[in-house]
């Protein structure tokens, strides 16, 4: 079953939540945040390659540099939205 954005999944190494996805060189990658024992975000982030046989941690530095740039830009966009959100006190009353 394919892991999608927002999904929470478990591997032997722990539990993760999927933040972003992208395609690069005809492969699909996901950018995930590891959750701690209380299911809260930790400071550990991982890039997985999605293969037919499952998820494989990406360790190639050249690929990681490109992928992390792509994921970083996407994360930046979300963070700008959040920072904009903080300035509006009444939006929930719309």
């Amino acid at each position: 079953m394919q892991v999608k954005v927002d999904d929470v999944f478990s591997l032997k190494s722990g539990k993760y939540i999927t933040l972003e996805e992208t395609n690069y060189e005809q492969e699909r990658y996901i950018f995930v945040n590891k959750l701690d024992e209380n299911d809260n975000p930790s400071k550990k982030f991982v890039v997985f390659k999605c293969t037919d046989k499952g998820l494989l941690e990406e360790k190639d530095n050249d690929k990681l540099n490109v992928l992390l740039k792509i994921f970083g830009d996407k994360v930046n966009d979300k963070l700008e939205l959040i920072n904009g959100l903080y300035k509006v006190r009444s939006f929930l009353n719309e």
């Binding site: 293969t51 941690e57 360790k59 963070l79 509006v88």
Partner: protein, 614 residues
Amino acid sequence: MSEEELRKYVNSNITLEDSKKEEYQKSLQYLQEDADVQSMKNAVNSDNNEEKVRLRAFLNLADTARLTLNNDDYNKYHKYVKRNLTNEDREKASEVIKNVENVFAAQDEALSRKIDAILTEIDKDKKFDSIDLIDSLSNTILDKQVKAKYRSLYLIYKADFIKEKNIYAAYDFLNAATDYIKVIENYEVSSELRIKQAAVRRMLDKIKSARPDLPKDDQTIDKINKLLDKAEKDLDKKALEEARKLIENLPNGHEKEELTKRLNAISDKLIEKEITDLLDKAEKDLDKSALDKAKDLISKLPNEDKKRAFEKKADEIDKLIKEKDGKDPNGGSDSDDKDDPKPEQPIIEENAPKKTWKTYVSLAAGIGVGAAVFFTCGTVGVSVMAIAGGITKRLLAKRRRKLELQRLKGELPIEEVEEPLPGIKGKIQKLKNYFKSEEFCRDANWFLNGAIYTGLGLNIASSIYNLASAKFGAGVDTTPTPDTVTTDVQPKLDPTTATNSDPMSGIKIGENVGDYNVSVGHDTASWATSGSHTENLISEYVNSGSIFKRFAVMNPDGTVGQMINTNGLSIADFCNQSGIDPSQIAVDVASKNGTSQAWVSVSELVKGVGGKSL
């Protein structure tokens, strides 16, 4: 003639003698050019009685100066009075001038009291947290003598504060105080200041004599440059570190910046040399530990191109080492799976709460304190400072540009955010759609209460999580509920510090002013906390029935750090939770329908009310 009589005369029907018309006409012309106030021009154009127009005009200017405490307007008014009025008129005007000067004196007195209070605290606890507030307050004082006194005090205390960190800068501050002390006419005041100055100078001299490594100014730069030359030529680490120590002790300025840049450039060269040596050793001896050390240094290189080149070389050597150890360098190892994990099927949690927003909020909170969020990816340990740095720099640069624009326009930043900024509404909808969850929207309200408004820190983010967990339970309910959003936050109290007898505990957002003192206030939050531009509030409009609308936490430079809107939150609770001093907080007092009326400081609110005081 008193001001009241003057105003009566101006508004009466007495006409002007012809002989005086030309004289007054010239005065009017001068007033128009000098004062440049549209309302006065209108008054001049609409009235035929020129004497009255002239007098009315300068009374308007006096009123403007008095109401706004605008020093420029007051100076124009004073200049006009001195140059253009006859002696007789000058007497009439003197009453007006006196009234304006009294107001300025009261303002200076308020500033002096505030500074004295801060200095008393510093003398008591030796905590210099508010030292820079004294800088801005003392610069606002109008009277030259009073200003000289407090500027001297600021400089002397500042020297005391920074003496351990940067002794030369401390000497600079101390010497600058002398220029202010010289102009003080009151012998007692100037003596006292000289005594304080001498005491701090003795402390500085003691520190300097106890540290023989602190070089004299005139030799320092020369010595540093020689050390840097040696470090650069011979790739000498010891010389580099010696230069670094000397540079750290220099006073801040252009010279220190240039030397630091040169130091960093040489440091990078040394690191690159070390990496090259380690890679050579790793290649020659197939030494894994040398390779690992090299990789660690490579990961910290700031120059991306050089980093990639070194990484490529490191990978090649890695393959050689693996070949030597009998491993397949391309994967599929038959001996050791540790570096070659196999794909693993994930077990996806069905119906797990969609909580990616929590990760983003923790990242956003990290931005506010400039803390880089360190991404580690698996065993590679790639620290992606590019992402964290990019996020931090971009958002901080944006905020800085906005604040700068507002400063240039003479506006105070982010005081009033009643309506969504242009473009925000669309973004909110986009965000709502993206997360597809009412639960996020409901939880996000907590963040809108201001705790992470500027991303002040992970500790605040944590407190928000705690509050959200307390309200919504350990796991967030994924079933969307009707959106009855409230701001009824009951923050956790620290039972060891919060007490009901605290005079600030009754200043609560959403509640009536009651017995608190709202006889004086200010137009802006920064004026409230700096004690400047104090105005009498009209009790008909601002009274016990008014409400506390929100709190503004001010930065020392007068900008708003945080805006707090949490209903039911008191100043006492907020200060206990956040550790922020109440003197940094301004309270927005509003009418019952929520229209802001004035900003009042906490000390003003609690003053002289039922014996309460801070």
